[in-house]
């Protein structure tokens, strides 16, 4: 049995609704105005409030802050006369709210009152992180998790292939984590070192091996002893350095630069590249013998656009991270998540993460609502509008007009060129522009 407060200014409606709610076995009290509702809230505790959006002394939404202050926040169901108000309220009050749209049926009331209050709550917090690192429940990611757990039981070298920003380094760390190895996880970027320095970075050097080598230094192979060595951008390693790497991989020993002693190494090498296997084969950036040594177990990480169902999970995780770090409490609304899903994310998860952080920084810190920029832009991709420009419900004339103006803009108003691009005669173009009232007679 619940204690319900029904707030609505239509006396006839409240009377009947009370009969029904009481028949359903609940206690019900009514209020016709915000003020009456406030009075009741002071005197009684309620499990559920059915709240009309439009009340004589203001909007039902005004009650929200006061409800938050109560020791036990009742569940709220808003009653609205207009379906379109729904999305507005959703933006205002967050996702954990129910609606009834007038005209109301008995089943509607039954449904909202019998809904389990716990239902919405756990859904928003726990997003599972696979291997404590990876987020996503799409089939593509499930497949990836399977590969990671398989390979982690072996000591095989892994090559990670995937576009920039898909999270190759995170996957490498996940492999290390799943391996339960006793050594460290060491990451280095093969593209970040000059030809002269890379040998020292990988294999270490002895004191005085070259100018500036003031002390002895362990290479990353040694540091990753019994652990995992992550070599990022392996295809950017100078090709004439690759035989040295091959020797280490084959013989499992390193010799420091300027040294003579062979040091045994024992680590899994996870390498990564943003080139595809075909590109690697064609462009000769990686010696074939090295490729087979490193890619005993190649894993391709899917781009974000191939697992769009994970965007919601990722976006929520990123905003939670941001909230935690900045003491904020931003939340997504469904429409915004749909917008994010509609975009292709050429920069993948990295781009999404930066986009989310940027949106959070740009949003009003006093509110919980995130403000998205009108367009999601990336210099690496063609501009995409966040509102799809082609929508059902627009007339052909309308779309035609937009296309004509877009083309004209592109060619700086050159009508001959625009007509050519549009595949129409210049005369037709002039006629159209004239019809839009954009051309005076003498210009023709």
């Amino acid at each position: 049995m619940l204690t319900v407060l029904l707030v609505d200014d239509d006396a006839e409606f409240t009377e009947v609704a009370c009969t029904i709610i009481e028949f359903l076995g609940h206690d019900v009290l009514t209020a016709a105005t915000l003020q009456e509702a406030r009075d009741w809230l002071q005197k009684e505790t309620f499990d559920h409030i059915l709240l009309d959006f439009m009340l004589p002394d203001g909007s039902g939404a005004h009650l929200f802050d006061e409800l938050d202050m109560l020791p036990k926040r009742p569940r709220v169901t808003l009653i609205t006369g207009h379906p379109s108000v729904k999305s507005v309220i959703k933006g205002l009050c967050g996702p954990n709210i129910d609606y009834l749209v007038k005209p109301i049926q008995r089943e509607d009331i039954e449904a909202v009152l019998s809904r389990k209050p716990e239902k919405a709550a756990p859904k928003r917090d726990k997003i599972e992180k696979h291997f404590d690192l990876l987020i996503g429940e799409s089939p593509a990611m499930q497949e990836l998790y399977k590969l990671i757990s398989r390979v982690s039981k072996t000591s095989a070298n892994v090559m990670l292939l995937g576009e920039s920003g898909v999270g190759k380094e995170v996957v490498a760390a996940a492999i290390h984590k799943a391996s339960d190895s006793e050594g460290n996880y060491i990451a280095t970027n093969c593209g970040a070192f000059s030809k002269e320095l890379i040998a020292s970075e990988l294999f270490g050097h002895e004191k005085g091996a070259f100018t500036g080598a003031v002390g002895r230094k362990e290479g990353v192979f040694e540091q990753a002893e019994s652990g995992t060595l992550f070599l990022d951008e392996i295809t950017e390693m100078p090709i004439d350095m690759q035989p040295n790497l091959l020797r280490v991989l084959e013989n499992k020993v390193v010799i420091r630069v300027g040294g003579t002693k062979t040091i045994p190494v024992n680590c899994r090498v996870v390498s990564a590249t943003n080139r595809t296997m075909e590109e690697i084969a064609q462009s000769k950036v990686l010696r074939e013998d090295i490729y087979f040594r490193l890619a005993v177990f190649p894993i391709t990480i899917p781009p974000l656009r191939d697992r769009k169902e994970d965007i919601t999970l990722l976006a929520k995780t990123f905003i939670e991270e941001f909230n935690k770090d900045n003491n904020a409490s931003f939340e997504w609304d469904e429409a915004q998540l749909e917008t994010l899903k509609a975009y292709d994310w050429p920069g993948n998860v990295r781009e999404l993460r930066h986009f989310v952080h940027r949106a959070a920084i740009m949003s009003d810190p006093e509110s919980n609502a995130l403000e998205l920029p009108k367009t999601i832009e990336s210099p690496f991709a063609q501009k995409q509008s966040t509102t799809p420009s082609l929508q059902a419900g627009r007339t052909i004339e309308d779309v035609e007009k937009e296309l004509i103006y877009a083309t004209l803009e592109k060619v700086n108003g050159n009508k001959t060129m625009a007509a050519e691009m549009l595949g129409i005669s210049t005369k037709t173009l002039y006629n159209r522009l004239h019809a839009y009232g954009d051309l005076s007679k003498d210009e023709q």
Partner: protein
């Protein structure tokens, strides 16, 4: 239709929905009475109220059409 006309119409639609909501709720009451959950007299009252609400709704719609036709004839002048 201008914005002003549209908002005027929205008000009428909102007003017309109110009696519809009453009708819907009264109908539920009648269902309950037929099931024997509440006394039959309640159903008779509910039917009267449905008739009243139908008239309300109809009046609101007539008001809306006459008001909107005025603005149409205004703009035609």
């Amino acid at each position: 239709m201008t914005n002003e006309e549209f908002s005027k119409m929205s008000v009428y639609v909102h007003d017309a929905r109110k009696p519809l909501n009453r009708i819907s709720m009264q109908a539920e009451l009648i269902k309950m009475a037929l099931n024997g959950d509440i006394p039959t007299q309640k159903a008779v009252d509910a039917l009267d109220k449905i008739i009243a609400s139908s008239k309300d709704c109809s009046n609101t719609l007539s008001e809306m059409t006459s008001e909107l036709s005025e603005t149409v004839s205004d703009s035609a002048k």
